[in-house]
Amino acid sequence: MTRFEELLEGHLTGELAPEEEREFATLLAQEENRRTLAAHQNTAILLEGMGRLPLSPSFTEEVLARLPERRSPAWAKLWGILWATRALRWNLASAVALSLVLAVTPLVWRALTGPSAILTGRHPAVTVIRFTLHAPGAERVSLVGDFNGWRLDEISLSDTTGQGYFSGVLPLKPGRYAYMFVIDGTKWVTDPGAEGHRDDGFGNKNAVVTVNETQQVDDT
């Protein structure tokens, strides 16, 4: 691009500094430059005046019909059930039944939590995953992923070695998660040691970690 062309683009977008505008005005003394400016301005006006094609009225419905069912997480379903508004109708039988439940519950609770009670059953299936990134020279490294809505500066990794090995642990329920590291709040880095990657729609790759039901401890 010539100097005039560089300035022309800035002029069209209104981004020129006052001294650049003056330089541009000087260059416009040449007839050829004036013709070039007019040609670009007119082409831009033509393009910006193009109309839009009408869309089929059923466009949105057709898109929705093509969407696969997305399984919502169990906790989301439970949450929905708990908070859904419901109208309850009472009769004498249901009131008596509720009273019985309220009366018996403390007795059962005492029996179960007494000295002879044995706690059985599984603990919640949460697995602690260690995330590690070697980022020499970095001041801080954050972990972001779909498990925290990709929010920056929520999960910080620490460099306990002083050698740029940042790590931290995160409890995760079974599932498949996409994540990235963010160095110094600006540079997004894919975990080179991830078990897998998937396209983020922008040509970059998100790292992927899978937490299985039976998994107990994992280092990522």
Binding site: L47, E48, W188
Partner: protein, 200 residues
């Protein structure tokens, strides 16, 4: 440029809508489709020049975006991310066609044009506008894809250079250069079609 062409308005509610979609609420996605369907459809049409296929490809882009919602990190606006998906779909289509001109939009080989008659315009003026747009669309289709995408995003969809760069995966400065060169080439193509400035 019409205000509705711009992507400038922030939609603070989009993160909430996306969260609802991720929780399995497909109907929430209709809000996003309604909001951006014209933008995506127009972008696709201007890129491939085929109105019928444009609608299919635009729908594909929305479906692909829905399936990839978990990977949307919110670094850019949702609309920018969506346009990038649509643009990649267009380029795949053009690559498969092994040519960059998919012009024949109608049975007569002419591009589809909006049927509307502008209020305050005579039928003759409307006809003139339609002919002008047909010439422009033909010229756009002859523009190499590398420049067509920047020109369409900048001048037809009204994005700033940062957003153009984000959609195309290039720096804002490079987007500016591409737009300039694309407009210059387009100008030559229009002149070859006998287009004159006093026709504007």
């Amino acid at each position: 440029m019409p205000a509705d062409r711009r992507l400038g308005s922030d939609h603070a509610d989009e993160n909430a809508i996306i969260a609802q979609c991720l929780a399995g609420d497909r109907k929430s996605y209709a809000v996003l489709v309604e909001r951006y369907k014209e933008l995506v459809h127009d972008l696709v049409y201007r890129m491939i020049g085929d109105a019928v296929r444009a609608e299919d490809i635009a729908q594909d882009a929305f479906v692909k975006a829905y399936l990839s919602l978990r990977d949307f990190r919110g670094e850019s606006r949702f609309s920018t991310w969506l346009c990038r998906i649509a643009m990649n779909r267009c380029k795949d289509t053009l690559r498969r066609a092994r040519r960059e001109i998919l012009m024949p939009g109608g049975a007569d080989g002419e591009p589809h044009l909006p049927d509307s008659v502008d209020e305050g315009q005579t039928p003759a003026a409307t006809l003139e506008r339609r002919e002008r747009e047909a010439v422009l669309q033909r010229a756009l289709a002859r523009l190499p894809v590398k420049y067509r995408d920047a020109v369409v995003l900048r001048h037809i969809e009204g994005m700033d250079f940062r957003a153009v760069g984000s959609v195309l995966g290039i720096a804002a400065g490079a987007a500016k250069v591409r737009t300039f060169r694309g407009r210059k080439m387009l100008r030559k193509l229009l002149e070859r079609e006998g287009f004159r400035d006093d026709a504007i």
